[in-house]
């Protein structure tokens, strides 16, 4: 507390707050100006065909933007009349019919501008074409969409030359918001994301899924972990029921951990004994949580339950999940 009372520190805090307030007011004014210049009429992508002026007209003023589209995967909207059965109109596929904009001498309020609109309006624009993709069809119900994260938060069709036109490489892009996960991946035990072996998108679908945490699943609706850790997938004759019912994250921290094998606690026994007590416990699946019995003297040997119960994810030969 004495530190807070020092005059120098007090002045530093005061100046910091004032600078922050000034910056906020300046930014707010800039927002206000932008809003005044914003689109008065947010046209949808569907319009009277006579209102389309064609991409060549657009490029007359927006040459650089046109070139960037031609260099990227969206060049198709300029070379095809229909994509997946839907009409496309070059630049106007996304920005809406441009006749009024042209007639207005480039009046920004007469055409759809992706800056300064609600995130979901941007999403709807993009989803007009991308809704049918298996990867993106759940975006409207995704956690990202609910939190105001829209397509242009991560993608830039005019300025990015990266794969999927991401504004950054995938891993740093995700970390720019998910700083907590960035910290996880620098822990001593972690999935090799920083090393480039896997990416966030291997386990999560940023565009949403039907299960929590936007997690992917195997084709048969099993946990995504089993895609790589196939030998844990089963089915086994002797299942360790919580593995199947609760999932991997009940024992493991998937991103990174200070504990070996990404476990939630530092010692195996401290994890197992929480359920496997001698209280005569019975789990919801009806079978008993086997207690530690009288032979498992915790202060003697049994340093780690999995030395003997090494087939902890399931076994075909041992009901006690022994090796083997």
């Amino acid at each position: 507390m004495r530190h807070f009372l020092k005059p120098t520190f007090r002045w530093a805090v005061l100046i910091g707050v004032l600078l922050l307030a000034a910056a906020t007011m300046m930014a707010a004014k800039r927002d206000s100006d932008a809003k005044k210049a914003g689109p008065a009429d947010q046209k949808t992508a569907q319009a009277d065909p006579s209102q389309y002026v064609g991409s060549d007209t657009c490029k007359g003023c927006h040459d650089e933007a046109g070139k960037s589209i031609e260099a990227g995967p969206h060049f198709r909207i300029g070379t095809s009349k229909k994509i997946r059965g839907e009409e496309v109109h070059g630049c106007e596929s996304c920005h809406g019919a441009g006749a009024a904009h042209v007639e207005g001498g480039g009046d920004k309020s007469k055409i759809f501008n992706f800056k300064g609109v609600k995130p979901e309006e941007i999403t709807k624009r993009c989803m007009t074409c991308h809704e049918s993709s298996p990867e993106q069809r759940d975006f409207m119900r995704s956690t990202h969409n609910e939190n105001g994260v829209t397509c242009t938060t991560c993608h830039s069709v005019h300025h990015s030359t990266r794969e999927y036109q991401l504004v950054k490489a995938q891993t740093p892009l995700c970390f720019s918001c998910h700083a907590e996960q960035k910290a996880d991946f620098q822990k001593p035990f972690r999935h090799r994301v920083d090393e480039g072996l896997i990416q966030c998108g291997d386990c999560h679908n940023a565009h949403g899924t039907t299960v929590g945490r936007q997690l992917r699943a195997t084709a048969d609706q099993n946990f995504v972990c089993f895609k790589c850790h196939t030998d844990k997938r089963g089915p086994f004759f002797y299942e360790h029921e919580p593995v199947k019912v609760e999932g991997c994250s009940y024992c493991h921290t998937p991103h990174g951990s200070t504990n070996p094998r990404l476990l939630n606690v530092a010692r195996i026994n401290s994890l197992c004994l929480q359920c496997h007590t001698n209280m005569g416990g019975r789990n919801a699946a009806g079978s008993t949580n086997p207690g530690t019995g009288s032979i498992h003297q915790q202060n003697r040997y049994n340093q780690s339950c999995i030395i003997c119960h090494s087939n902890i994810h399931g076994s075909n030969t041992s009901s006690l999940l022994f090796q083997p």
């Binding site: 084709a219 299942e239 007590t277 340093q303 090796q323």
Partner: protein
């Protein structure tokens, strides 16, 4: 610290040679590379300063390529196994990176319009990746990915059976070992290949193939009562084929059908490892400490000539196991069909729906477990196991846009899977007349005077001292058959409804409610076993169908009923979230999930006892959970980004307090002050900022603090010989119908600070400097406390170490005092990960020698440091310090 590999009972692994010799060589090489790095820039000073390459034109393609070739030198001291577990970057030449980009300039290429190929890590790094992307406008789109992951893991992190403890009070401990006979070294090769045909047409096709191949060796030990080392030759391969078609029958509507087929193949082959535990019977080894005290009751103590007091194997005429092996072949086929619908046909209504069906079949054949233990004993288990996993799944998502600002969405999900399984095994046991030192249990069933039924082909593999199994034909033999059935199933119904409000781009919010019902069905027969003798008779013909109904055929025993045990869990979750953007540069978001589960029906203690229906699925499944998340990002000016977030998870399953004082079950005593049940929290706080004012300068700084806490009630049995007062309670306590067990509280805490700083600086056009530092520091405790008194189980004030003088022991005798922090009930468990510092530093220089040619140098430092005081005394710390230097040339053309 010095390399302690000499303590390891297994030889050094190939490529992990002693560090002493290579260190001198590496230092010379480091000096050479440093000089090279200083000289090359000056030599190139007069070169062209244009560092960008525009590639070249091949026909209709614009082509750009780059290749980065170099080498790495690693110098490490300390625990090599730990370094390999965490980093595993070794010395040697590497193809550090490669890129090829071909782009058709007029979109009229021959076979393709765009091709992109890249790779890194080839030549020996533990992680290699190759990516290939090819597309031809309207015809196809192909994405290929190959990954290789070398996975080294030293199981010493969890336990080391060489750490031994003497059954004496006060506690006497041996010096610890750094290395253990537990280790994994596997390599996983993964390939994913996906092809989309006619991507822009109303009907498009998708083809996919994925392969996952994991192979290597797993070193472990088998115990009880003796121990010996084993090695598992592990081979796993998974092949997945996918075919899909998307049809667009109406506007804004797509129907997809996907067919997947996955074939998994696992082959296990276990045997005694070449550097197995030194078991008695090998006269060359003499007195050997296996690290385990012999087992207490219910095992019968073996002959005292095998196990002398203090847990030492001291006789050369006795053994735990002479031969042991295990093998099986597991094959799993998983065909899955899926039908999906996505539609925006109705302007205000978005629809997504999908359904899938899968019937996985697992067959474990050729199960073979031959072993020979004790004097004149042999057994062979053989059999087959089969299991199915039948899965049905459906989900339906609807979003109705009420107005521009309001929408309501509903997501329904149904999942139904069940695993019926069967197992049939036969165990043949043969024993000699000298059965007094048997170490295995089947003989408790008795013996008959039959010939040994173990096939000679198996028997011949069971090596052992000559003459021990003197006369198999005259020896006792026994055959046991077992047939079992199990059934596990789950039905989940989940419905989430949300109301969203999006009035302005500065604000949006939602509230919602999720209901989830979980029905679990677990049925099974007890093992239907029969003492068969010879000749064998038919085993009970018991079958189980997909819904868990048992059919009994002609059986030797009475029909075994399968009692359906169905448990039901209902969960209710309130949802809410808000996003606030006071200005475009500032974004604040927060959301909350509040879960509450009904009392689990069918989860009582015991089953059906309503007064104890307070458990969730498991003790650690929370019946109450709150999740709070909030984050903010502020950008001003554009090159300054500030961010902060808070993520809090609070969970509890308070069966402990509910059961306190119940005399019937007495899981907890009246007056227990720490009857928590199971409570935990995980709280994470993050702040960070980044500066990116120009291409010449950048900085990235962040700090995360994570606070984890667990309070869990449990019961355990302790050996009174090994614990000092006041551990054994003066007043006898008991857990549920288990007199003698001690009700205890796990009081676990782990605090982790993670920080990083990365700097990038380009002082002149040709030179780029970057440097960074990452720190992860953890601390905490793993205390086990008596529930009534609250004091710790393991409060040892003094202890002494011993040095028996065996060649196995290299430590120094001594004594000391230790506190209770982090000890837990067993002080021999390595606790290092609970109290560590993990540092990573790097500094790099990139010098653009001339157009398209860059010289790169990178120095990295890794430091793992275990801070735990007791661990440093009882067990040697597994610290390491490693420098790596990487020099490379990148040529772009």
């Amino acid at each position: 610290m010095a390399n302690t590999n000499q303590n390891s009972p297994r030889p050094l692994l190939p490529g992990r040679e002693s560090l002493d010799g290579s260190r001198r060589m590496n230092r010379k090489a480091l000096v050479f590379l440093a000089v090279l790095a200083l000289v090359l820039p000056s030599l190139a000073a007069a070169q062209d300063d244009d560092t960008e390459t525009k590639g070249s034109v091949w026909g209709r393609y614009q082509v750009r390529q780059s290749i980065e070739f170099g080498g790495r030198i690693t110098e490490s001291s300390g625990n090599q196994q730990m370094y390999d577990t965490l980093v595993n970057l070794q010395s040697g030449p590497r193809l550090l990176g490669q890129e090829l980009s071909m782009r058709s300039m007029d979109r009229s290429g021959g076979l393709f319009d765009n091709l992109y190929l890249s790779s890194f890590g080839l030549g020996g790094d533990p992680n290699d990746v190759v990516r290939l992307r090819i597309e031809k406008n309207k015809l196809y789109n192909f994405v290929g990915l190959y990954r290789r992951d070398q996975n080294f893991f030293d199981y010493n992190l969890f336990a080391n059976p060489l750490n031994s403890i003497y059954p004496a009070s006060p506690l006497t401990a041996n010096p610890g070992y750094v290395n253990s006979p537990h280790m994994q070294e596997t390599t996983r090769n993964m390939g994913d290949f996906n092809l989309t045909l006619f991507p822009q047409s109303a009907i498009r096709f998708r083809l996919g193939y994925s392969r996952n191949d994991d192979q290597g060796n797993l070193f472990s030990t088998l115990e009880s009562p003796a121990g010996f080392g084993t090695v598992n030759d592990f081979r796993m391969r998974s092949d997945r084929y996918a075919f899909g078609v998307d049809v667009r029958p109406f506007k804004r509507t797509t129907i997809s059908f996907d067919q997947f087929f996955t074939h998994n193949k696992v082959d296990n082959s276990d045997s005694l490892s070449g550097n197995a535990f030194p078991v008695a019977g090998n006269s060359a080894l003499g007195l050997v400490n296996l690290g385990y005290p012999y087992a207490a009751a219910p095992y019968n103590l073996p002959a005292t000539t095998c196990f002398v007091t203090n847990g030492l194997i001291g006789s050369t005429s006795c053994t735990g196991t002479y031969s042991w092996g295990f093998s099986d072949n597991i094959r799993t086929d998983i065909p899955t069909s899926q039908l999906s619908l996505q539609s925006n046909y109705f302007r205000k209504l978005d629809i997504t729906a999908s359904g899938s069906y899968s019937d996985a079949n697992m067959s474990a054949s050729n199960i073979s477990l031959p072993q020979r233990g004790g004097a004149g004993t042999a057994s062979w288990l053989s059999g087959t196991a089969n299991a199915e996993r039948i899965t049905g799944n459906a989900d339906l998502g609807l979003t109705y846009h009420i107005s521009k600002a309001w929408k309501v969405s509903n997501q329904f999900r149904w999942l139904n899977w069940h695993d019926p399984a069967s197992l049939s095994t036969t165990t043949d046991s043969c024993l000699s007349t000298a059965a007094s030192s048997n170490l295995t249990t089947p003989f408790a069933l008795g013996k008959t005077n039959q010939a040994c039924l173990i096939p000679s082909s198996i028997l011949s593999t069971l090596a052992g001292p000559a003459g021990t199994l003197a006369n198999p034909a005259a020896a006792g033999t026994i055959q046991t058959g077992a047939s079992s059935l199990t059934f596990l199933g789950e039905r989940t119904y989940s419905n989430t409804t949300k109301l969203g409000w999006d009035p302005t781009r500065k604000f949006n919010a939602y509230i919602g409610y999720r209901y989830e019902r979980l029905e679990l069905d677990n049925k099974g027969t007890p093992d239907v076993s029969a003492l068969i003798g010879k000749p064998a008779v038919t085993l009970p013909n018991v079958t189980i169908n997909a819904t868990g109904v048992v059919t009994n055929g002609t059986t030797q025993q009475a029909a075994v009923a399968m009692s359906p045990l169905v448990a039901k869990v209902n969960e209710h979750t309130a949802l809410g979230g808000v996003v606030f953007r006071p200005i475009s540069a500032w974004r604040i978001n927060a959301d909350v999930e509040l879960l509450s589960a009904d009392l689990c029906t069918g989860c009582g203690l015991p089953l059906g006892n309503s007064s104890f229906n307070t458990l969730a699925f498991t003790n650690i499944s929370p019946r109450h959970e709150q999740r709070y998340r909030a984050g903010t990002t502020y950008k001003f000016p554009k090159w300054v980004t500030l961010n902060a977030s808070v993520h809090i998870i609070e969970s509890r399953n308070d069966y402990g307090a509910a059961n306190t004082g119940n005399a019937t079950t007495a899981a907890f005593q009246s007056g227990d002050t720490t009857a928590y049940g199971n409570q935990s929290h995980l709280r994470t706080y993050t702040v960070g900022f980044s500066l990116d004012p120009s291409r010449r300068l950048g900085m990235d700084v962040g700090w995360t603090y994570q606070d984890q806490k667990i309070l869990a009630n449990t019961c355990m049995v302790l050996n009174p010989l090994l614990v000092a007062t006041p551990v054994i309670p003066a007043v006898s306590l008991s857990c549920y119908q288990q007199s003698g067990d001690l009700p205890v509280l796990l009081n676990y805490a782990e605090d982790t600070n993670t920080a990083y700083i990365n700097l990038r600086f380009k002082p002149v056009k040709r030179v780029t400097l970057n440097a960074g530092y990452e720190l992860t520091s953890s601390s905490g405790y793993n205390n086990w406390q008596r529930m009534d008194a609250g004091n710790q189980l393991f409060q040892v004030s003094t202890y002494t170490t011993v040095n028996p003088g065996s060649a196995v022991f290299t430590g120094t005798a001594g004594s000391g005092t230790v506190g209770g922090l982090g000890l837990g009930p067993n002080p021999l468990v390595p606790a290092g990960s609970l109290d560590t510092n993990w540092h990573k530093l790097y500094a790099g220089l990139t010098y653009d020698v001339r157009k398209g040619l860059a010289l790169k140098g990178l120095w990295s430092y890794y430091d793992y440091n275990e801070k735990d005081v007791e661990n440093a005394f009882f067990l040697l710390p597994r610290d390491f310090h490693t420098n790596t230097a990487t020099i490379s040339l990148k040529y772009s053309f």
